[in-house]
Amino acid sequence: MNLAIKLENITKTYPGVLANSEVSVKINSGDIHAIVGENGAGKSTLMKILYGMVKPDLGKIEIFETKVSMSSPKNAISLGIGMVHQHFMLAKNLTVLENIILGIDRPFLKNIKLSKYKSEIQKIMELYSLNIDLNQYVDELSVGEKQRVEIIKVLYRGAKILILDEPTAVLVPQEVDELFKNLRNLKNNGVTVLFISHKLDEVLEIADEISVMRSGKLIDTVANNVSKTQLAEMMIGKSLPKPPARISSTNEEVILKVENIKSIDEDGRTIFEDITFKVHKSEILGIAGVEGNGQKEVVEAIIGIQELHSGKVEFKNNNLMDQGTRERLESGISFIPEDRQLQAMIMDMNLTNNVIIGRQNIAKYKSSLGTVKTKNAIKESEKVISTFEVKTPGTSTLATALSGGNQQKFVVGRELEDNPNLLIASQPTRGIDIGAQALIWEKLRNSRDEGLSVLLISADLEELIGLSDRIIVFYQGKIVKELDAENVTPEDLGGYMTGLKK
């Protein structure tokens, strides 16, 4: 069998970090080859090297059995390598067709012959059985469709090797199935697919061969006949942490009561309505929903950032409606927003300052003179760093210097430290490595067992089902279903989330 990619002893060091250490791998032409590893294992550096974004210090790259040296993505594209990034690079206000031809080197813009491109692109779509309406605006597409546009874009540029960076992170199960179907079609037509992921189930479902990376090294490349546990153990180098057995400690006391809330946007459209639910003491209530179905706004309404049109929120039997965000946070609600870098941390401030965020006005951090009690903040951040195993040189390190997983551990630690009554956790483990994820799960469960109520919003359905006691499903701004987490499958949930099941 021909080799699409052959890497020999690829080594790349950044000052102080060995990102890739003597990585050698052979990828067969026409295979779906998965690369798995924790965050920081060196997957993305390897992909950047393959895509010409980073030059390796040492090592040899062969593409289709010819030795190459790449200096830019343009270079890689001309060699037949295409990449679909995790965050799509599409212009929302252009059509699919315009997006696909965007950036293709043609000197005279005014001579663009859309119809010519259109037929060329349609040929490619037919060849690989990828369907999409070329005249639709990207704005109107679902996430899965946008991804398809990215794939077509890359194929149209002549890619024979397709690199997909965490392609399923943003998809619901049905969309994942669709993607896999597409990938198999690509494979049958001779395209080599390089699939980067840390979702082992998916990797096992789709890949022909799997390479496992750990701390910059390529541990092994195996055929797809291993078990999930074996893979996971190769990935983290030790036995998997097992989640503690579920003991339902839910008690009758109602901590949070949301009654009939409704919110409308500036144009008068309803964002969500008829939302009613309760969270009991010692209970994890999961919220499932595809992004954009109102669940994000509902949690923001609970902490007072999203304005309500009508309805009422009660916390520990107190009406929250005439309280500002600050009062709500101080009364015992903790909040882990979905985007830690944008919403939870100040990236250019150090950890000591970041531990105060959201608690500026409590007596622990504010003296009677109105000054910040820095000593307490240092103590507290040290405590968070040690109990949540945050890897950092110290408390005076800037938040931006930490890896994503460590940032998230720090945020979760900060929000759990003051023994809140209610924790609202939005995507608490999104995009972080297995180690950090396991730690956060464990801490969430422990806190739950000790009496914490949690409102959990997660796109990771395994996480949602695994952690929650009950799950409510949002669809188009309404709660469409309440489920007992004990006997529900991700497929079931996906059905309700996409409106297929009612």
Binding site: G40, N353, G358
Partner: protein, 359 residues
Amino acid sequence: MKMRFRLVSVSAPIIALTISFGLSSLILLIIGKDPYETFKIMFEYGIRGKSIVSIINRSIPLYISAIAVAVGFKMGLFNIGVEGQYLMGSLIAAYIGAQFSVITPLHILFIIIVAVATSSLWAAIAGYLKVEKGIHEVISTIMLNYIGTGLIAYSLTTIFDEPNSNYDLPRTKELPETGKMPPLNKFFNIEDLQDLHGFLVIAVLVGIFYYWLVWKTTLGFDLRITGSNPIAAKFSGINPKRLVVIAMITSGAFAGLVGLAPLLGYFHRFTIDFPTGLGFAGIGVALLGRNHPFGMAVGALLFAFLQRSAQILDLNDVPKEIEQMMQAFILLIVVVFYEVIRRFLVKQQIKDASKRTDE
């Protein structure tokens, strides 16, 4: 390690200074003047005793103006209206202060309070407009500058003009002796030189107060996190609207002090030729000093030095506008290098953090 970071931070203004001297030299060469000679006479003139007093006097209002701007900058609020705010404050304070006489400390305190109150009220208008009507503060403060200038011109010739004065130009009544701030010359044994404004003491106190307010209090913390990341600030429970109004009023309060150094130390009344432009100059000083009380002090002294030492140039047949160009060069270049250095420092931190993770 901290020391190393400090050294790196200081390198930006030094590089900017060097490059702007280079560029100014180039321009001097183009117009046929000897750069070396020019800078030499500027320097020699600038370090005379008389010049030094003048430089310090000039730097006082520049420094306070920079602080007024910096309070807004710290939370990402651009108060371009310090100009109008300090002129309004100075006029009202000069007028009311001249109506009575009490012992000096009380009299001066009263004048300060009037100036601060007037300026912060004037600034509060922009805060209100931003919060309630969504008008960007850059627009509203610029417009308020124009309105303020017009109001001052009108009211100075009508309401506030000194009655029965035989002086041609409109001006307020002179402050009584108790309302004049005594100079500091006797403390430095420089009684042969011109007055060193007593307001220097207040400028130093203002600098300390500013530092305390921004870096030590929770209000300052809120300002800084809002400046760095307004979204996270909102999620942390800060009411952004309330903070905008508070910051605007605080900025205006500092602005109220800008005009008091010349008013209490030299002019003793508001006249049509009362110094203008200090509010705009403060924006540059705040940029140069990176909103830091010490950095801004150095920046204010530097600009004051350039302004003073350029006075000699006309006598030597060199256009003194070269000084304004130098100031502009410094600002442009320093902004670039601060960013370069900031990125460098962040990279260093990331390296340090990942080194630790490796161990």
